[in-house]
């Protein structure tokens, strides 16, 4: 049993489900303590609750479970290199009277076995060297879980609950499996560097220095002083490059964005394409109707906001340096002008570039933007993020 289950564990690992040994041992412990009755349905629920800790991974788990237990269905059955005689005996053992009657109806046991033997040989021919089961969950009349009503059920556990298969075959959690996976936590930890605490709100923390001072002045009678607790007061404007060459990096940007969103109290985000021009937008679907002018941003958000640009900075140098260089529309002023304008207002700014740092020197546009940014361009690795955040708090 244990050996069988450890292949299940490996299967889950293969499906990139983050399972740990500790959780695995918990599952074994639960099995030992008879938490579930021996039903595959309950085993499904139990293993899911022990091994999968995020509903986004439920779909992966369902697939792995389904795949694995299709295997199990035939493990109890036959393997091609098993002698045919043994196989026949097994088949006979597992037949119910009704099934035997059905076999008679099909022309008798011998005829059926003759076909089975032929089929086996065919299979051997087709999957040479392969370790294929016979008709696993297929429509062949042979093998476990066939859908053929005339099928021979070989070595199948009778107590199996058919409806159980459905639970994971339905794959109800498919739409929860969005592309943003684990990993945002790392980013969040890196982003925490940016936290800057300021005292605001209602007084709720003991101000020790003040209390000592006041108490001393009060001739030793305790005079308590409270002060507001510190809150994260960092303000961030985030500009995300969208579309075009950024398509390869969308996942990373999503992670970065979702991590940043929960980490800061004041986070405003805008989208741009390739380079910053006179407007940006908030909703990518309505980029042509709902635009925000850069001037409005400069007027609305104080200069204590920190700027974070996310983009691969990969484009034609014209798009940065020439008026009318934008691929979106005809811009009156060059992207570089707008970038400089922003950087004049907001002196804390970094550019995060998802392209690997090694290739930066080979792309002219990256070089130009890096120069505009005053060298403050960093790769979107954990280390790169940390460097970027350190620059922002300086």
């Amino acid at each position: 049993m244990r050996a069988m289950l450890s292949t299940f564990f490996v299967k889950l690992k293969d499906h990139k489900i983050p399972v740990s040994i500790k959780e695995w041992l918990t599952l074994l412990e639960a099995m030992q303590k008879n938490v579930i009755s021996p039903s595959i349905d309950e085993f499904y629920y139990l293993s899911r609750m022990t091994l999968v800790k995020d509903e986004q991974n439920f779909d992966k788990f369902d697939r792995a479970f389904g795949e694995y237990f299709k295997g199990i269905e035939s493990i109890a059955g036959v393997e091609l290199d098993v002698p045919l005689e043994w196989l026949l005996k097994q088949a006979e053992l597992n037949l119910s009277p009704e099934e035997k009657a059905m076999i008679e109806a099909l022309g008798g046991w011998d005829k059926l076995m003759e076909t089975l033997r032929k089929r086996l040989e065919e299979q051997k021919g087709r999957h040479q060297g392969g370790n294929k089961w016979i008709g696993t969950a297929g429509t062949s009349p042979f093998g476990a879980y066939g859908y053929n009503p005339e099928g021979v059920r070989i070595g199948q556990d009778k107590s199996r609950n058919r409806s159980a298969v459905k639970v994971w075959d339905q794959r109800e959690y498919r739409n929860l499996d969005d592309a943003v996976e684990l990993g945002t936590r790392n980013i969040k930890v890196a982003l925490r560097r940016l936290r800057k605490f300021a005292r605001e709100g209602a007084p709720e923390e003991l101000d020790l220095d003040m209390t000592i001072d006041k108490t001393a002045r009060n001739a030793g009678w305790l005079d308590l002083h409270m002060r507001p607790e510190r809150h994260n007061a960092v303000k961030v404007l985030m500009f995300l490059d969208i579309g075009g060459t950024m398509d390869d990096h969308i996942k990373l940007c999503e992670e970065l964005f979702s991590a940043a969103k929960t980490e800061f109290k004041h986070l405003e985000y805008f989208y741009f394409h390739n380079c910053l021009y006179d407007y940006v937008w908030k909703d990518n679907r309505r980029r042509h109707s709902e635009r925000t002018r850069i001037f409005d941003i400069m007027h609305k958000y104080g200069h204590d906001y920190k700027l974070v640009f996310v983009g691969d900075a990969t484009m034609s140098p014209y798009e940065i340096l020439q008026p009318g260089g934008s691929i979106e529309y005809s811009n009156d002023e060059a992207g570089a002008v707008w970038m400089k304008r922003m950087l004049d207002v907001y002196n804390k700014a970094v550019w995060l570039n998802p392209e690997p740092e090694e290739i930066w020197p080979y792309r002219q546009s990256i070089g130009i933007l890096k120069e505009i940014m005053g060298g403050r361009m960093y790769p979107t690795t954990i280390v790169g993020l940390e460097r970027a955040m350190r620059t922002l708090v300086k």
Binding site: K33, D41, Y45, L46, M49, K53
Partner: protein, 280 residues
């Protein structure tokens, strides 16, 4: 101890199994799910069904892990010392027990609910690893080790506002409460409104699930909204015919304010209805 649902709470098979596994293996059960699917109610109902006391620890953004263990009230001790109170000699008098301490030292096993753990700081769950795993902690002020006499049954709920650390997740069982399907929903309604007219229930549920289907809603109505709505329908004595499915596409269900709590959602909904009315 086995939990098998209660008169006031409809528990699906998988949820029941999860609760029982958590009870048997004495590990915390982390419950996630859409708002209004009864995450918090689960702990309340399990405590009621098993006849155990319930301790609730509601987490806020300012909650610290230490507050769940104990707090040392140095300020009152200082005050008392000036007043010459004899209690001052004993530091124990100024240690305020937190929820975990109370749960650990209770005579009978208790159900402990840690509600909305994702509201707290990102490091909060990490600070509770040892406490939840070994069910013990050390009080530095009195140098004593508090160890659970009987391990409490711990329920932790999360609304997914923050990701929880892996090390924490490894120590929990996990259950995701799915939004109930029609069948389960009927059972849930039956529990709350026994003897509700079948026709009204059917129409109301149909209207409810249709509203949920409306694309682009900011907040989909949940079970608790459905129950409120039904209560209103009953109070206003709305006949089931008013919810009839034939003209559903062209009328706004009565009292829809109970289902849609967001004015943008109400607008969106009304616009959709208006559009389908025009296309006729």
């Amino acid at each position: 101890m086995r939990f098998s649902g209660s008169a006031a709470y409809v528990s699906t098979d998988d949820l029941t199994l999860a609760v029982n596994a958590a009870i048997t293996l004495e590990r915390p059960l982390l419950v996630k799910g859409e708002p209004g699917t009864g995450k918090t109610m689960l702990a309340v109902e399990v405590a009621k069904a098993l006849g155990l006391p319930l301790l609730e620890w509601h987490i806020k953004s300012t909650t610290k892990a230490q507050q769940g263990l104990y707090e040392y009230d140095a300020v009152s001790r200082l005050r008392d010392s000036q007043l010459g109170d004899s209690r001052v000699q004993e530091i124990r008098n100024y240690i305020v027990k937190g929820m975990l301490w109370q749960a650990f030292t209770s005579e009978t096993p208790v159900v402990l609910l840690i509600d909305e753990i994702d509201k707290a700081d990102i490091e909060f769950p990490n600070d509770l690893l040892r406490e939840l795993d070994r069910m013990e902690f050390f009080v530095y002020e009195t140098r004593e080790l508090i160890k659970a006499t009987s391990r409490p049954i711990v329920f932790i709920t999360s609304n997914n506002e923050k990701e929880l650390p892996d090390a924490f997740l490894r120590r929990c069982f996990f259950h995701y409460i799915r939004f109930p399907d029609k069948e389960t929903m009927e059972k849930i309604v039956e529990v709350h409104f026994p003897g509700l007219k079948k026709s009204l229930l059917r129409e109301a549920l149909e209207a409810f699930f249709e509203v949920r289907e409306v694309p682009g809603l900011k907040k989909k109505p949940s079970t608790s909204e459905l129950l409120d709505w039904l209560k209103l329908l009953l109070a206003e004595d709305i006949p089931p015919e008013a919810l009839k499915s034939k003209d559903r596409k062209t009328i706004i269900p009565p009292l829809h304010g109970a289902l849609l709590k967001n004015e943008q959602d109400v607008h969106l909904f009304e616009r959709l209805i208006f559009m389908s009315r025009q296309s006729r």
